[in-house]
Symmetry: C2
Subunit: 608 residues, 2 copies
């Protein structure tokens, strides 16, 4: 047996020699990311071991670890076999979508950031040329109207003289951000940040080639004030300092990620010249320290809608202090810059025909675009899709049922291939689609009960249906097969929760179609964004009627499109301008004012 200590949790576990770190982590119950369940194919389970410990030949043919990471002791937990006691530092929680932004996928994308660096050699001053340092510098940058920047000027004299008047000027458009000694033209970094209600993701980007240098994610620490935006707004409204407190939480979290990323990659905070940010409207308000109180009650009024630029110093974000933080525009109280990011990355304004883009989380935001109009709306989808409010629900983590097939009996796909612990959102949809198909549920969502219905079911399925005066549920996993020893069930109430959530999304889609005056058959493509969109089984989403009936091949998943939008806006002034145009072109449809919403919603509840 060997002893493994997991930092920073300080959790200790004994496992047989020959086990992997991944298996030890699972045994210890410490959180470790994995999408492939320990097969070495997803690269998510990075952990750090003391430098100098024997590192096995990298078997990650996909190159999940770069040279610098290996040198710093990073290994894939599932590829490292334990032969002695070991201390392991867990990696921060990595987002599932930190894939490289593939510029090739996005037509017409050109890297043209607003950050420019240029090396200049200035004439030295003399008694016959007493031009002040600032003017001397500006004379080397003709045809630009550069405003004075006190912070840059403060240390300019020493920088110029120590570098013998050969310096590199960093500017953001017409703003002068920094003057660096010597020639530093080659190094230019920026951050793209996606502030979710649940998770904050930070990408550190190379502005010269558009690549993701590294990325990190963490739970949004505002969650201690409530899981959803309404709770956060209530908290913000409860006192004079609460907005600042919420703001500080998220900024601290981002600074923590930045510190880790800088330490890991060798990028200096001073070389990060710009940050773009997307988030829902509430997150954007809180990030900027702006009171979100009146987003919560009708008529749901935000304070601002446009692109906001502030300096990093003003917000306390740990990048170059003069660097700009650019929060992409939002559209309405519940359609935020994350949706604008989705629109950018999905290119809804450039696609022929009719596109429907959907980003489902606690809220569902929808965009319906023709070549003439772009409509948006949002619905409170409820937390069912995130596994909350569901009796055996859980987030999409190890042990979550993510796929369900029902034939003669129930077959499951479980994340990380372990004993199941519960069911996540995509599993829920899959389960209900399968139950509906085999006849365990009626179109109304009711678990079947009539003898004629029951006798059609295979016996192994039928005996999983428990229905009496106090209980009405379907057993997905018997206790003997579950990780907890308890049955994993779907209750009648769980099914109702899912129906409400999917009904809200589907009703939103229907209202957008009505507003545009077209029907479902006119939809040329459905683009599913975000974590949920990535995991969901398209067939099941169609089967339960979450999505309108279109051909399967017209449904595409587009990954973390909100984050991709932030990256695009960072890398291209043209994309940033496009974000502005999109935010103003988009027409927001306020569902609460539609007299026909209730009728549409009720018919959208049906599982068909």
């Amino acid at each position: 047996m060997v002893t493994v200590t997991f930092l920073p949790l300080n959790k200790v576990v004994k496992v047989p020699s020959g086990d992997t770190i991944f298996q030890a982590a699972v045994a210890a119950g410490v959180p470790i990311q994995s999408a492939c369940g320990g097969k070495g194919t997803c690269g998510k389970c990075k952990v750090q071991i003391p430098v100098g410990k024997l590192v096995p030949e990298p078997t990650d043919g996909k190159g999940f670890l770069n040279e610098a990471e290996r040198a710093a002791g990073w290994v894939l937990a599932c590829m490292y076999t334990l032969s002695e006691d070991l201390t392991v530092r867990l990696g921060e929680q990595n987002d599932a979508f930190d894939r490289k932004l593939s510029m090739d996928n996005i037509k017409g994308f050109r890297i043209e950031p607003s950050i420019h660096k240029v090396q200049v050699l200035l004439e030295q001053p003399s008694v016959t040329d007493q031009t002040p340092d600032w003017e001397r510098l500006l004379a080397a940058l003709p045809n630009l109207e550069i405003p004075f920047n006190r912070r840059v000027a403060a240390n300019l004299p020493k920088t110029l003289r120590q570098a013998n008047f050969r310096v590199t000027v960093v500017r953001d458009g017409n703003d002068l951000l920094a003057v660096e000694p010597g020639d530093t033209e080659g190094r230019q970094c920026g951050l793209a940040i996606d502030i979710g209600t649940t998770t904050v993701v930070v990408y550190i980007m190379d502005l010269t080639d558009g690549s993701v240098i590294s990325s990190g994610a963490t739970t949004n620490p505002q969650h201690v004030f409530g899981a959803d935006v309404i709770s956060r707004i209530s908290y913000a409204a409860s006192g004079p300092d609460q907005v600042s407190q919420l703001q500080a939480k998220v900024i601290d979290a981002i600074n923590g990620i930045i510190a880790n990323l800088c330490a890991k990659t060798g990028v200096s905070h001073q070389e990060i010249y710009q940050t773009t940010v997307v988030g829902n409207t509430t997150m954007s308000h809180l990030f900027l320290g702006i009171d979100p109180t009146y987003l919560a009650p009708a008529p749901f009024i935000p304070v601002f809608r446009q692109t906001i630029e502030v300096t990093a110093k003003e917000l306390g974000l740990n990048i170059l202090e003069t660097g700009k933080v650019i929060v992409l525009p939002n559209i309405a109280g519940y359609v935020g810059s994350d949706t604008v990011g989705v629109m950018l990355a999905a290119g809804v304004d450039r696609l022929a025909g009719i596109s429907l883009a959907i980003d489902i989380g606690t809220n569902g935001e929808m965009v319906l675009a023709s070549e003439d109009r772009i409509l948006t709306c949002s619905t409170a989808a409820g937390p069912a899709f995130e596994g909350a409010e569901i009796k055996c629900g859980m987030r999409a983590a190890e042990g979550a049922i993510e796929g369900v097939r029902i034939g003669e009996n129930v077959e499951l796909d479980v994340i990380a291939d372990t004993k199941p612990r519960g069911i996540c959102g995509s599993g829920l949809i899959d389960a209900i689609a399968a139950m509906r198909k085999i006849g365990v549920i009626e179109a109304t969502g009711r678990l079947v009960n009539k003898p004629a219905q029951l006798e059609k079911l295979p016996s192994a399925v039928r005996e999983r249906l428990r229905r009496n005066e106090t209980v009405s549920e379907f057993v997905l996993v018997w206790g003997k097969d579950s990780a907890t020893g308890e049955d994993i069930v779907l209750t009648q109430k769980d099914i109702r929760e899912l129906q409400l959530a999917k009904g809200a999304i589907r009703a939103g889609i229907s209202i957008l179609l009505l507003e545009m005056g077209i029907d479902e058959q006119a939809i040329d493509r459905i683009l599913l964004a975000g974590a949920f969109g990535n995991y969901i089984k398209k067939e099941s989403a169609l089967a339960i009627g979450l999505l309108p009936p279109v051909l399967l091949e017209r449904i595409e998943t587009i990954g973390n499109a909100a984050g991709d939008g932030a990256k695009m806006a960072l890398l291209s002034v043209a994309e940033r301008a496009r974000a502005r145009v999109l935010s103003y072109r988009a027409e927001h449809v306020e569902l609460s004012t539609r007299k026909d919403f209730q009728k549409v919603f009720i018919s959208a509840l049906l599982l068909q």
Copy 2:
């Protein structure tokens, strides 16, 4: 006897009943301002007594105390007769020049600040009008391109709703500074600040009528790092945090004055919407936290020259945090925005003929203006004019000899009419002029020694001349008549110091005349600015050749013109624009590059 306690020093003194507070202050040795020596004619000795104490009928016919001050217990110390024990709070050190800026004196001056307030009533939002609060507000301010202001937006929603959408918008040009509930159009304040190397003066101004609401002054606390700008620059250059330290000192001092002024006048910090600042180039750099290191060595390079605008928040100045702090432009390393202020207030660009404006302190700055050209230069006048480096020198305070007449004997004017303690700069000039006239000094500055010279002197004067191998001096006051019991003398070295100082000024003037190609007779007026210019006897300044020989009536004193310039720039955008123009029109003559300077300087040393 009555007991008087002076706050904040907590100094206690017993004096006879019937004495004035002023006499008690002198007896206690506490610092109290006075120019008239207790005659009730200068208004400088304001002190505060407990409200409710009997206040004598105001005998200050000149209206030194306004209604509000009287109500708050302010009295003139020299007009208040003590009849019982009393606690007295000393006023802060008031500047000698806090007179009302008399707009009538300045031709063409119109009050047109960049601060504008307008009351608006907004439409309330609804589900059919979900316009964000910021856009709703801007819609009420048409034809303005107002950039987003995060700090104003942060609390906008509550302000709007608590005020039922009736608010007053405060803007500075196109910048939105504040949104105040209700109608506050009547109240608008600003600050004009004059940062001297020795003294910092703050004027709180009413932007609606241009009046000085109140003013305060304090010693520039940077003096602990040296009395002159060169010492401050050396200190700033000595380490990485020193500039910030110097900046913090002066900002703390200003904040202290602001706090006092606000407490005294009832003006809130939040109602002070803008600040203009003048100072020499070093003071401007330090105030902004900008490294002044390379101002000290040749070629004397400043970092900036133009008008600088930063927010109060950025500098930590305690006015409305979004308010702008506007530092007027400087001209060169040793011709600062204080000189631009002098040019503004003196109107050198608007006067017919040839004007010479001089501001003498530790440095002397000179402006020579024709209708076509404006020339400036500065010389290190040395501290002689401030009484430093002079054996019995002192600042112009109580006990300082400020006037000297010599006939059969020596007659003196002493500030506050007490026994003399020393001699101040204006007294020094007066003394040397008188000594030269009666023949105690030769034109070269040498104290006379030859029998033929000595026998022409009245005996009471002759016996004051002490000349032997170790001593060469003139006794102004015998020990029996002085406050200290020691003789008050002028030494040969003192005379040399004065000659160096006056020679530098006069040489600067001569070089400017040469540069403009005119001679002394062409000068239509000489304008003397600043404290020294106010106190100096014009006849004596002419007599010793500090000023070129012009008719006496062509010499005018113009008070604290630098501070007046700051006030004008605060009160009028046109004046601010004029300051910019003046700073660029002014041609700086660098004396150190003039080959003819040494020759001119040597001939300027002569006392004639």
